[in-house]
Amino acid sequence: MENVLEVKNIEKYYGNKSNLTKAIDNISFNVKKGEFIGIMGASGSGKTTLLNCISTIDRVTSGTIRVDGKDITKLKGNALNKFRREDLGFIFQDFNLLDTLTVYENIALALTIQREKPDVIDKKVKEVAKKLEISNILEKYPYQISGGQKQRCASARAVITNPSLVLADEPTGALDSKSARQLLEIFEKLNKELKTTILMVTHDAFTASYANRILFIKDGKIFNEIIKGDDSRKEFFEKIIDVQTLLGGELNDVI
């Protein structure tokens, strides 16, 4: 299957010659179409920097990132915005919904800024809302709905444009466990039914266990990679815990 994302030898340095920090130290990996990949690592491991580089919010110091074969590290100005608008979908930890807009409008906004036709917009919003089980709250404002509903609304906004890649940054970080499970089930559904490619960054083992493949990052390098394969989610979850223990888990940060 073709690669949606090809990350090749990327490095990201902060600071200057006398005081250099390598946030990303030579990372390479590929993501195939229809994959649900998780990236795990403790805070400070470089996983957010990696996500920022892929989402073009930040620039790499060296190396290339290709999305659908295009080298996005070379993009500038409007081409960059166009790429973000059309090829990427974002899901954030704190939802990032516009509080003055209704759920319907929040979802539709992703399409209107792409200058999609009005009739198409209406149809698409209703379709995706049905899939994400938020049809009944379309006319509500963000402050009137629960955190789980908010995140599903944000997910709807991310996938409605049919992006090549959906980037999720700690999507369950602000949710209680029940809502988190619901959301992850929806991710699974999107991934299976719509063949949406999802790249999810998390530090939570349970959340990560919904992915097909997990990359572990430590000190800016890929430390380990595990694939779910035919394992059940429970088995996969235990594998993740094993790797985390190997990594030193969260304790490393405490020391």
């Binding site: 915005n81 973000r84 608008r85 974002f90 990032n96 919904l97 807009l101 906004l109 209107t112 404002y141």
Partner: protein, 697 residues
């Protein structure tokens, strides 16, 4: 010293944030200085005697109004300052976590206020000093003075006054700052940025109803002030209309936001295009939270537009009316048929000298020649007499409608004798003035009256019968209404009534009330005319000296004196209107600008979300521009609609019909002034907002 450095750095760093604050302060100082320096304008040095008095009055009034202006500016400055403080809550929070006390924070603010104060005062005064030179040109135009040589003027009084007033304002700001800093809680300071606005949702049906009702009420108020304007004769009748307009405006803004969303939502093509949805919600939210200030700003703009355009056109209209009302150079009159003595109403006996009594039997021309005046200095001389009869007063004239009229206007002097003039004599005057001449039968008379209120009263009687009895003979009115006409010149139509009778009417010598001489100066140039004028008006002229010596009272009105007086009054009105208008304009624009900036800084997060989901800078700037544009346009559009009716009403009450061309030119002038100041604030707000929402990558 460290605190001082901190203040200095703060100002430097946040100079962009302070731009609108600075601009408002500088504009305030400039305007304040310019208007207070009027007294020492170069043009003022060249005006004549009667205009000097007007300028003294103007200076006094401007001094008085300046107090009011200072209060407005003080509130504005405190408001603007408060906005800046709010934006810096987090900064203060950090200072406090570092162990800085409230007192030290107050000190930082104190230094900042002093610095900003000194800079803005300095810049404002410099601009003001140069700006006041422009003012000279305006002054010379209004007073119709030729400014042959230009001289640079600096007014020390205005300078000191500006410094003192603004020092007081800054002091108020300092006190206010100290109080507000002492009230802050650390936790609120640190969390200030995180507070989320609550979205107000309105029922669209209620919105629609309220919108329609407010439109209806506004329409009714418009109808009253335009079509029914003549019923609004006193303030007690006007203020309900004003209250109606104000409340309707408030509810209009309240309902407009909810309605707007519903309306646009039905037009899917507009609604689902670009960031329109977002823009719409932003505006909706903004109007919702600022209904009251929007209303206040709208009304201030309405007042500004109305007073600026009416005051400017009033000047032109009055000048034109003056030309009409002063057809000749001079009117002179004296009391005729003086008795040898009489007892006045205080019981004192007034005795007239033999010369006085004799002179009163003679013509004005006789008096003039007697005082050594050369009659060849006058041309087109017409001399007439007016008569009165104790049998014919306002009360006896209005006999049929007297009770009703008295109930309506209890203050009128109903005992006043009616003035009577002979047909042939009046026709001579009418011919000279270019007025309508009359031809009467032996039993007819004509009522001449052009003072609006009296015309209304007299017409009531004329429509019933209007028959009068004079010297034992009955006269019927030739017309069932008053005709316009007058004998004495004045600044406006003030003839309260003259009865024109046929020459056959047996009026006797002792019924003579006044002897009136009407003439033009026999001169070609303005200088020659002024020389003759001086003979009549200057206390030291030989004519006045000789008249005084004989104790003879000769009164009069001259074209030049009427002109000067009137020009002065309109000038005062124009000056005060421009002064207040500009201050109102600055205040409303500044409040709008600050409201928008608060909004922009609160909404930083929203724009970053837009960016993250792929909206490009062009789109974001466009949405910001539309938002600010609508926010600025809304109050001024409604204010313009209000003022269309306001101007009409103001003109109809002040001076009848204004010339369309006059009105147009003054409206254009108003648009230029408002467009300039409002436009500057709009642009400054747009660029500053753009700056605020910019991501610092």
């Amino acid at each position: 010293m460290m605190l001082f450095k901190l203040s200095l750095k703060n100002i430097k760093k946040s100079f962009k944030d302070y731009a609108i604050y600075f601009m408002t302060l500088i504009l305030g100082v400039t305007i304040f200085y310019m208007f207070n320096s009027i007294e020492s304008q170069e043009a003022m040095m060249q005006v004549n005697q009667s205009q000097k008095m007007i300028i003294e009055l103007l200076t006094q009034l401007i001094g008085f109004v300046s107090g009011f202006v200072a209060i407005i500016l003080a509130f504005l400055i405190i408001y603007a300052n408060n906005f800046l403080i709010k934006r810096r809550k987090k900064e203060f929070g950090i200072y406090m976590t570092l162990g800085m006390g409230r007192r030290q924070i107050s000190k930082i603010l104190l230094f900042e206020t002093v610095l900003i104060g000194i800079i803005s005062l300095g810049v404002g005064l410099i601009i003001g000093i140069f700006g006041s030179q422009l003012m000279s040109i305006l002054v010379s135009k209004l007073f119709e003075v030729d400014m042959t040589e230009f001289q640079f003027v600096f007014s020390k009084d205005a300078f000191l006054k500006t410094c003192i007033y603004f020092a007081l304002m800054y002091l108020a700001v300092m006190i206010f700052n100290t109080i507000s800093v002492s009230r802050y809680k650390l936790i609120d300071l640190l969390n200030a940025a995180k507070k989320n606005e609550k979205v107000i949702i309105k029922n669209p049906i209620i919105c629609t109803i309220i919108f329609l009702v407010s439109c209806g009420v506004l329409g009714y108020a418009y109808y009253i002030v335009s079509a029914q304007a003549y019923t609004l004769t006193s303030f007690s009748k006007i203020w309900p209309v004003l209250v109606m307009g104000t409340v309707a405006t408030l509810f209009l803004f309240w309902s407009l936001s909810g309605l707007m969303i519903k309306l646009v939502q039905t037009r899917k093509k507009t609604y689902l295009k670009d960031t329109n949805m977002f823009v719409l919600r932003q505006i909706n939210n903004k109007i919702n939270t600022t209904v009251v200030s929007m209303t206040v700003i709208c009304l201030m703009l309405f007042i500004t537009i109305t007073i600026l355009s009416t005051a400017l056109s009033l000047k032109n209209t009055m000048t034109r009316e003056l030309v009409e009302m002063t057809p000749v150079d001079i009117n002179l009159y004296k009391t005729a048929s003086l008795p040898e003595s009489y007892v006045n109403r205080y019981g004192e006996e007034i005795v007239y000298t033999k010369e006085q009594v004799e002179d009163s039997r003679e013509s004005v021309q006789y008096t003039l020649e007697n005082a050594g005046f050369d009659m060849s200095l006058l041309k087109d001389v017409v001399e007439i007499s007016t008569y009165t009869s104790p049998d014919l007063t306002w009360e006896t004239y209005l006999k049929d409608v007297f009770d009703g009229v008295k109930a309506q206007f209890p203050g009128l002097a109903y005992g006043t004798y009616e003035l009577i003039v002979k047909e042939s004599e009046y026709n001579k005057v009418a011919k000279l003035y270019g007025l309508e001449e009359f031809n009467l039968n032996d039993n007819e008379y004509v009522m001449l009256c052009d003072f609006d209120n009296m015309v209304n009263i007299r017409n009531k009687e004329l429509q019933i019968d209007g028959i009068i009895t004079l010297c034992g003979k009955e006269y019927i009115p030739k017309y069932k209404e008053c005709k316009s006409g007058y004998i004495m010149m004045s600044t406006s139509h003030t003839n309260t009534g003259i009865i024109l009778v046929p020459d056959s009417c047996p009026l006797t010598e002792d019924m003579k009330e006044q002897q009136i001489l009407i003439a033009n100066y026999n001169a070609n140039t303005d200088e020659e005319k002024q020389e003759i004028e001086d003979l009549f008006t200057r206390d030291d002229s030989y004519l006045i000296q000789n008249l005084d010596k004989n104790g003879i009272d000769l009164e009069g009105a001259t074209r030049i004196s009427i002109y000067d007086g009137s020009v002065g009054i309109t000038t005062i009105i124009v000056f005060l209107a421009i002064y207040l208008g500009i201050i109102f304009l600055i205040s409303s624009s500044a409040i709008l600008a600050l409201k928008q900036l608060t909004e922009s800084s609160d909404n930083k997060l929203r724009y970053s979300v837009l960016r993250k989901i792929g909206a490009d800078e062009k789109m974001i700037n466009r949405s910001l521009f539309i938002q600010i544009g609508i926010f600025f346009a809304l109050p001024i559009v409604i204010a313009i609609i209000h003022s269309i009716f306001g101007i009409q009403f103001a003109l109809s009450t002040m001076s009848g019909i204004a010339d369309v061309a006059d009105l147009l030119s003054s409206i254009i002038a108003t648009i230029v002034i408002i467009g300039f100041i409002y436009g500057i604030y709009f642009l400054a707000t747009y660029f500053e907002s753009k700056n605020i929402i910019k991501e610092n990558n």
